[in-house]
Amino acid sequence: MRSWLNRDALLQAIVLLAVVAGMVWLVGNVQSNLERQNINSGFGFLSERAGFGINQTLIDYTEDDSFGRVVVVGLLNTLLVSVLGIFFATLLGFSLGVARLSRNWLISKIAMVYIEIFRNVPLLLQIMFWYFGVLRNLPSPRQALSIGEAMFVSNRGVVVPWLEAGAGAVWYGVAFAGVLAGGFWLRRRALKMKLNTGQASRVWRPLALLTLALFAVAALLAGVPFTLDVPYLKGFNFRGGLTVIPEFVALLLALSLYTAAFIAEIVRAGINAVDKGQREASAALGLPESLALRLVVIPQALRVIIPPLTSQYLNLTKNSSLAVAIAYPDIVSVLAGTTLSQVGQAVEIIFVTMMIYLSLSLLTSWAMNRYNQRMALVGNAS
């Protein structure tokens, strides 16, 4: 036993030493290489003037802003495309997963064909297909496809009418939040009442009344602070409205369609993992199909679905970095692309990029572990 312990300690010491020595060697090389090539080091560049434009910014940004702000702009763009991608992929993926289990043979087969096509073609190819193959091939703004003379689709992207919010719009935001909170409260109250008195209580009618009342109050307080901004063609491009750049459309489309195929398989496996006897037992108790799904099948399926689903969400976020191939200004594109080529500090820039993704990942897996621990507390029958 003792000799084993000693051997273990020795082995660990050797491994540690080797790793440290390797690190020292690499850092030494980097330093001498940087000196020789006259490249600065450190993160000072983050406060320097960036000097390039970005074609989609969620916060105010001009060429005179710093590289630090570029990081924020890029990160926000990554988050925007990821969050929307997750939303659409989930919607489509759950529909496909349920369709795959449909009693209707044709629906099930159509879902299968979709899944097999989209998950077996590289995502990058799909992104480039949508961007170079479809969106860039659309007519120019002058020949744009028009939907009701208000929405235009051209090779410059999609232009849609937009509500320009003025002062006082915040009251409408408050009203909206109030409706959401009211909805949650009404649902909870309905469930409580159901459990306490056996009586169902109304949810939708009071919610509709609440919505009306809150927005009426907002209108009284602030009037109508919105102006509708309808795009129109002027010269070679559109003015007004909200322009969704084709890079964003292509990336969002490809990410959603690709990830949906994987989510569909996860959903299918999750629902299949719920024993057939569970539905039979619910039916034998007289629960209608819809209640059996809501109270028995879905809660159990979700436990199987959520962990792999989370890792798909993470994959989608990481895959949004393929934006760099079509120059959508995500974090990789603006940082490891444009900024790197201007500043040249590869080590720092790649490090920052990786750290951003790494922290997103670690945060998610931390949350996931918490979830799994909570689920483990609740007994699981075989």
Partner: protein, 246 residues
């Protein structure tokens, strides 16, 4: 004899092209206890699963408490809530506590309050002798305990008829008795029961009629005394000699 609560006439069922139930005729009176036995694959489970329409028959007629079971019926749920069922594999809901398993259907189907449903559930858990396990999850219980919870769960709906589909087949030998004891008590209280089982002792003790099935049809039915001591049919004799010899 009172009006039968279950009436099956000339019922036939196929799984695809396989003829599983052949010309079944059976009437069950209120309060009657029926034990169905037979070799595996004889269609006995399928028969009782047709009674709450977990399986659909293709020919003939099934009537439960005066309501005919067919494709066009609207109140399947109300029939099902009057017919309790206990499965071989228990089929408890693993994500709910024992108490929640028992209160689920009373709350959502019978519109009882949580308080009423829980009082009812505790009463039945007491009756199946596991009142102290109410807050555990099914995964934390033994097989015998789980099956007793399943019985309590079915009883919470105050059913008129109970169907048992091989309730002891998945249990270790020492747990069979605790489940059978509960079933005997239930029988003594006058519940109408249809029970698929190979527990011949149970059949002798509580059954009003024993039915022997093979190849999808009812081969023989008789009172237990006559059925065991003097089977009329060679096939029944052979089956009994095999079942009773061990």
């Amino acid at each position: 004899m009172t009006d039968p609560v279950i009436r099956i006439s000339n019922m036939n069922k196929w799984f695809g092209t396989f003829h599983v139930l052949r010309d079944i005729n059976l009437q069950v009176a209120a309060g009657e206890k029926i034990v169905i036995c037979g070799p595996s694959g004889s269609g006995k489970s399928t028969l009782i699963r047709c009674l709450n329409r977990l399986e659909h028959h293709q020919e003939g007629h099934i009537e439960v408490e005066g309501v005919s079971l067919d494709g066009s019926m609207k109140n399947l749920e109300s029939i099902r809530s009057n017919v309790g069922m206990v499965f071989q594999q228990f089929n408890l809901f693993p994500h709910m506590s024992v108490l929640e398993n028992c209160t689920l259907a009373p709350i959502w189907v019978k519109q009882k309050t949580k308080q009423e449903a829980e009082a009812l559930a505790r009463q039945f858990l007491e009756r199946v002798r596991i009142p102290d396990q109410a807050d555990k999850y099914p995964g934390q219980l033994s097989g015998g305990q789980q099956q007793r919870v399943a019985i309590a769960r079915a009883l919470c709906m105050n059913p008129d008829i109970m169907l048992f589909d091989e309730p002891t087949s998945a249990l270790d030998p020492e747990m069979i008795k605790e489940v059978l004891d509960v079933m005997v008590e239930l029988a003594e209280d006058g519940m109408t029961m249809l029970c698929v089982t190979h527990e011949m002792g149970f059949a002798r003790q509580v059954a009003d009629r024993v039915i022997f099935m093979d190849e999808g049809e009812i081969v023989e039915e008789n009172e237990p005394e006559a059925f065991f001591s003097n089977p009329q049919n060679e096939r029944t004799k052979m089956f009994l000699s095999q079942v009773l010899s061990h």
